[in-house]
Symmetry: C2
Subunit: 198 residues, 2 copies
Amino acid sequence: MNESLQTQRKEQILDAALHVLVQNGYEQARMDDVVQSSNLSKGAIYWYYKSKKEMYLDLVNFWVKRYSVILNHIVEEEASPSRQLKDLFQFFIDQYETDPQPFAALTEFWSMAQKDDEFNTKLQKVYTHFLELIEDIIQRGVQSGEFKKLDIRMTALSIMVNIESINWFTLFDTHGVSVKEYMQTITDFILAGILKKH
Amino acid sequence: MNESLQTQRKEQILDAALHVLVQNGYEQARMDDVVQSSNLSKGAIYWYYKSKKEMYLDLVNFWVKRYSVILNHIVEEEASPSRQLKDLFQFFIDQYETDPQPFAALTEFWSMAQKDDEFNTKLQKVYTHFLELIEDIIQRGVQSGEFKKLDIRMTALSIMVNIESINWFTLFDTHGVSVKEYMQTITDFILAGILKKH
DNA sequence: TAATCTAAACCGACTGGTCGGTCGAGTTTA
DNA sequence: TAAACTCGACCGACCAGTCGGTTTAGATTA
C-alpha cells in the first residue's frame, strides 16, 4: 500500500547490506548481520527480498539509479566535451569524498561478476551504458575539433578504467597520495593527451 | 627431504587452487575441488598446508616469486627508462596472452585483501615493492632528462593502476578491444605524456 | 466513535544441508 | 624406515531460508 514506506524500508535494508558487504564480502555477508545493522528482523528482510542474492542484485540497481541521474545530467548539459569530462571526474571525486563505501563495494561486485552470471550480466550492462556515455562525449569532442582524432572506443575504455581505479584507494595504502590529488592529476593527464594543441 | 618433489607437489596443489579460485572465488573454493583438480588426496593437501587460508596465502607467494624474477631483471638491465617501461608493459601483455588465469585471480585477491588483514598485509607489500620498482624507473628517467619533471609517486601509481587494470578484460566484454591493442595504446599514451619533447 | 476486521508488515526460534578440517588404519615411495 | 601419501568416514560449527505466530494501520461496520 504505502509506497514510500516500502521504498524507505528497502533503502534501510540496502544501507545495511552495503555496510555488511564492504566489511565482510558477499559470501561472508551474514543475513543476520544485515538484520542487526538494519534494525529490522529476518522476517522483514525476507518480506522485501526473497533471497540474499536478490537483495544484493537490487543493491546494484539502487546505486546505478542513484548515479545515473547525475551522469545523464552531465552529458545532457550544454558544456564543452572537455568540460563534461572534467565534470565527470569531479563527480566521482565528490562522491568518494562524501561516502567511499560504494567504491569499496566495487571489489566485491567484480568478484561476484566473475563467478555469477546474473551479476555479470547486470554489471556488463551498467558498464556498457557508462562506456557509451563516455564515447558520446569523446565523439562530440572529436567532431567539434576540440579533441584529436582518437580511437573513440579505446579512449573511452581507458577513461572508464581510470575512473573505476578509484577503488584502489579503498584497498591499499597509497603512500600519502589522496584520491583527490590523484584523480585531478589523472584528469589533467588524460585531457592533455586528447586535447588538440594549437 | 626431496626438495624438488615437495616443490613439485606444492606447485601441483597451487595450480589446482588457482583454477578453483578463478572459477568459484575464495569462499566458494571447495577443498574437495582442489583435491579433485590436483589429483591428490585431502590428506596430501593437508600434509603440505595446515589450512585453506595458508594454501591461498602461499598461492600469492608463488606468483609473486615467479613474476619478481623477470620484473627485477627488467629494472636491472641497461636499457633506457622509456625502454624499461615498454618492456614492463610488454611483459604483462605476454603473460596475459600466455595465461590469463593469474589476472583473473586478481579480483579475488583484492576482495580477500578487503576483508582479511593477512591478505591485505601481504598484497600491500607486493604492491609497495612494485610501486618502488616503477618509481625507480621514473626517477632515472627524470634525472637523465629523458622524462619531464614529474611527480614520481603519482606517476608510478598511475602506471601501476593501469597495468593492474588488465584484469578488466577477464571480467567483462570490452566490445572488441583486445588486451594487446589496449595495453599498447595505453603504453604509447603514457609515454607520450611523460617523455620530454624537443 | 468505539468496536471489529483484515491484510500487509514484521518477528525470531528453528532446521537441514554444507564443508573445513580431523582421524585412524593402511599403502607406497625414495 | 620414515616420509609421503591414500581412503573414506566422520564431526561440529555455521547460516540461508522457513514458518507459525504477532503487531500495526487503516478500512468497515454498527
